[in-house]
């Protein structure tokens, strides 16, 4: 009887690994450190800034966790979100579409890019790194061409269509409340369930563990691999919407490197770079680390370049832990 009990509880325990515990520790340490080092960090606006960063990185990261688990990667999401939000703004300001229409166009385009990635990788068997590197370049060019190099602008708060800004934050009694966090937590929960408790999730994990064994078990691996990239595309689209609603002004031709924040977050959260394992909650924690660094470092006088250096070092640490775990397993 006792044995049975431990058996049923194991899978949950496994999804919450030792790495997550370390990452939570890192988050606490970072938070304390910034709070002690800078008085202005200890203010409410910091939370708002942190959330602004978290939304678009987290959405990208949740999506990219799926290709990562299959043993692939999706580099197109960074320039992708800029491209999709520019195309969305173009539809709204030039084509007279309502804001909702612009959002849907952005999502649709993101899904198309995700599908193209998936087909090229799964059906034509091209390496994911190269394929998505190319779609990354395509996405960057596409946005700039469409707007003729001009910035894309999404409605400001108060202007027509400005409702879109209150998806992620509302002002109550002069105080900004980042309600976007509710959607984030919901999405983390939903995607965790999809990864752990559905057929899609099981197959995607199995592709990363042993794609050929899955194929020889009579499973259509092409289909499920495409779905992994579709999920990545869908979340890049959602990320584009959150980016547009948070930052309003979108500069074409940018976005390269944003994908690394997302991929970095996933890896810090324990997703294996060689595929086969990973968790959405881990990705959430990893993105929290990245966002904390982005928010906190300026408070102690370290600007963008320093952020990159420190993020790079944190990533190496995360990868080292992943490798150490693997060696231990062997």
């Amino acid at each position: 009887m006792e044995k049975k009990k431990t058996e049923t509880h194991r899978p949950l325990l496994r999804s919450f690994g030792a790495q997550q515990v370390i990452v939570i520790g890192v988050i606490v340490v970072l938070f304390l450190f910034f709070s002690v080092a800078s008085a202005s960090f200890r203010r409410y606006t910091t939370v708002v800034t942190l959330c602004n960063y978290m939304y678009y990185i987290l959405l990208m990261a949740i999506g990219v966790t799926f290709p990562l688990i299959t043993g692939g990667v999706d580099l197109s999401i960074g320039t992708g979100i800029i491209c999709y939000s520019i195309v969305g703004s173009y539809m709204i300001s030039q084509k007279g579409m309502p804001v909702l229409g612009g959002m849907l166009v952005a999502l649709l385009l993101a899904l198309i890019i995700g599908f193209v990635n998936g087909i090229i990788i799964a059906k034509l068997d091209l390496p994911p790194f190269i394929t998505t590197l190319c779609t990354m370049m395509i996405a960057r060019g596409l946005g700039s061409i469409l707007t003729g190099g001009l910035s894309g602008v999404w409605p400001m708060a108060g202007s027509p269509g400005g409702w879109c800004r209150s998806i992620f934050k509302i002002t109550v009694g002069g105080r900004v409340i980042p309600i976007g966090m509710i959607w984030m937590i919901l999405l983390v929960a939903v995607m965790s369930v999809i990864l752990r408790r559905t057929r899609v999730g099981r197959y995607i994990i199995a592709i990363g563990s042993n794609k050929e064994a899955l194929r020889l078990s009579g499973v259509n691996v092409v289909k499920w691999q495409v779905i992994a990239y579709l999920i990545s595309g869908l979340f890049a689209g959602l990320s584009a919407i959150s980016y547009a609603c948070t930052f309003t002004n979108i500069t074409p031709g940018t976005g390269a490197g944003l994908e690394l924040d997302a991929i970095g977050g996933a890896i810090i959260g324990g997703t294996s770079m060689t595929g086969g394992s990973g968790s959405i909650f881990g990705t959430f924690l990893g993105v929290l680390v990245i966002s904390l660094l982005k928010t906190g470092l300026p408070y102690i006088g370290l600007q963008a370049n320093w952020q990159q250096i420190i993020t790079g070092m944190v990533l190496i640490g995360a990868v080292a832990i992943d490798m150490a775990k693997r060696h231990q397993a062997e």
Partner: protein, 497 residues
């Protein structure tokens, strides 16, 4: 029999939760081949890893040429002349034979590598072994057998005094095994100490002088090979007697319907115009030498590789199978010869592996029905007597025999009627082998039909109701079990067109 060159005494080694070696003794003598036998998990590999310094022992002594040694790095053992020829070869496919042999210690001419000397030295080594390999050939172009000989040449170049062969014959053809034995005898005559690890009983009788048997991490005993029978050794290994009697008559009912009909199947060079029938409740053995095209036939039939032409009829219905998905839907199941590469997601649990072939059956809408999934997995773990601490155990932690049972369970849960067993007992210990044979017999009694590809003659003769022999991609013969003999099978297996 020569003098003792190395003794291991009271070797003890524990891993968390496992007492892997329990005061094991071993004696290696000059000019002698010592067989080290035991089921998988008996501790043979661990003992050899302790000897060469891959693992650190907890207790015991190793005396080598009169002095006590303790290696902390396999390289030190190698420099001292103790070398392992691994089951999985560690060669760099893109480099030449000579470059592989002298990697890390290339002869120099000034700043540059002295290629001429390196090739000449390699040639000299092959001369010593009495084999013909071009030192300038690219390694990946050699057969597995030749590659292994390069590994042996490399061992000799290290001035080896003790060579340990870890299941060297697993991937070799009969002719290559013959040549390997010639080399091993040559090395023995040069007064080297040889340790030979293998599961194949016939080879042990042929090549070794003494047999040391281990069981469950303990030393069981040592016999003089010439003075003991196969059954003596097996008894020591498993503790009970197993006889390997051939089948004498077909167990298939005369009116059993044809469940699978393959006509004029062609796929590449290795599958040429293959036609055969499989009856319900039959075990159809596919025999032949390595590279005869048996696995290729199975893979083409299963849709794993593309085929050029051919008609497949299952239970009277023509089916078009171009992907494994279609094959599974048509009721086929394929247990690959290489379960680690093609059969299992090693780092996933027994449960996750068990339901891969039919996950939709264990889903409610898009959601997994994990309760049912675990129930059916538990049922088959018990039915197949799979030894695992639990159904959440990662498959990588199970022994070869138990991994194979997980793969079999996977296809049984998938409810395939026609099962292709490709080398079902490769790398599996005697006890588990017996269980898998019994299981196959039970399956055909229940009305399933089995195609069994096997390179082990005893297995073919023991399990099959009918035997198809292939050579160079063609079916060269068909034998009922009543008329089949080892000699007849070999005749067809070497019948080149």
């Amino acid at each position: 029999m020569g003098d003792t060159i190395l003794t291991m005494k009271g070797i003890d080694k524990s891993f968390p939760g496992v007492h892997a070696l329990d005061h094991v003794d071993l004696e290696i003598r000059k000019g002698e081949v010592l067989a080290l036998m035991g089921e998988n998990g008996a501790g043979k590999s661990t003992l050899m890893k302790v000897l060469t310094g891959i693992y650190k022992k907890d207790a015991g002594t190793i005396t080598y040429e009169g002095r006590e040694v303790e290696y902390t790095d396999p390289r030190h053992a190698q420099e001292d002349g103790i070398v392992i020829v691994h089951q999985e070869l560690n060669m760099m496919g893109h480099l030449t034979v000579a470059q592989n042999i002298f990697i890390g210690r290339e002869p120099r001419a000034g700043l540059f590598i002295d290629d001429a000397k390196m090739n000449a030295d390699a040639k000299k080594l092959f001369g010593q072994l009495n084999i013909e390999i071009d030192p300038q050939e690219t390694m990946s172009r050699l057969t597995v057998g030749k590659q292994q000989m390069c590994e042996i040449a490399k061992a000799i170049s290290h001035k080896a005094k003790i060579i340990i062969f870890d299941e060297p014959s697993a991937a070799l053809t009969d002719a290559e095994i013959e040549q390997l034995f010639k080399i091993i005898r040559g090395l023995r005559d040069q007064q080297l100490g040889i340790v030979y690890i293998s599961h194949r009983m016939d080879e042990i009788k042929q090549i070794t002088d003494r047999v040391t048997v281990m069981r469950d991490g303990c030393y069981v005993g040592t016999l003089i090979t010439a003075d003991c029978t196969k059954d003596d050794i097996i008894n020591m290994m498993v503790g009970h007697v197993i006889y390997e009697d051939p089948k004498t008559e077909s167990h298939v009912r005369p009116d059993a319907p044809v469940v699978l009909k393959v006509e004029h199947l062609n796929a590449g060079r290795m599958v040429r115009d293959v036609s055969f029938e499989l009856h319900q409740g039959e075990i159809l053995g596919f025999s032949g030498l390595m590279g005869a095209g048996r696995t290729e036939t199975a893979r083409a039939l299963f849709g794993a590789d593309p085929k050029e032409s051919g008609e497949i009829t299952i239970k009277g219905k023509k089916v078009d199978i171009r992907t494994p998905e279609q094959a599974v839907a048509a009721g086929l199941g394929y247990l690959s010869e290489d379960r680690k590469r093609f059969g299992l997601a090693l780092k996933k649990s027994v449960t996750e592996n068990s339901t891969l072939t039919c996950l939709p059956k264990y889903c409610k809408g898009p959601f997994l029905n994990q309760k049912e999934e675990r129930k059916v997995t538990r049922k088959y773990v018990e039915a197949l007597n799979t030894k695992t601490p639990g159904i959440d155990q990662l498959v990588v932690n199970l022994s070869g025999g138990n991994q194979q049972k997980v793969v079999i369970g996977k296809w049984l849960i998938g409810d395939s009627d026609i099962l292709i067993f490709d080398e079902p007992t490769r790398g599996i210990d005697v006890g588990a082998k017996q269980e898998i044979y019994e299981l196959m017999n039970q399956l055909v009694e229940q009305g399933k039909s089995i195609i069994m590809i096997s390179s082990e003659m005893t297995e073919i003769l023991r399990m099959s109701d009918r035997i198809i022999v292939m050579c160079e991609g063609r079916i060269t013969g068909e034998l009922g079990i009543e008329e089949a003999t080892q000699a007849r099978i070999m005749h067809f297996a070497t019948l080149r067109s």
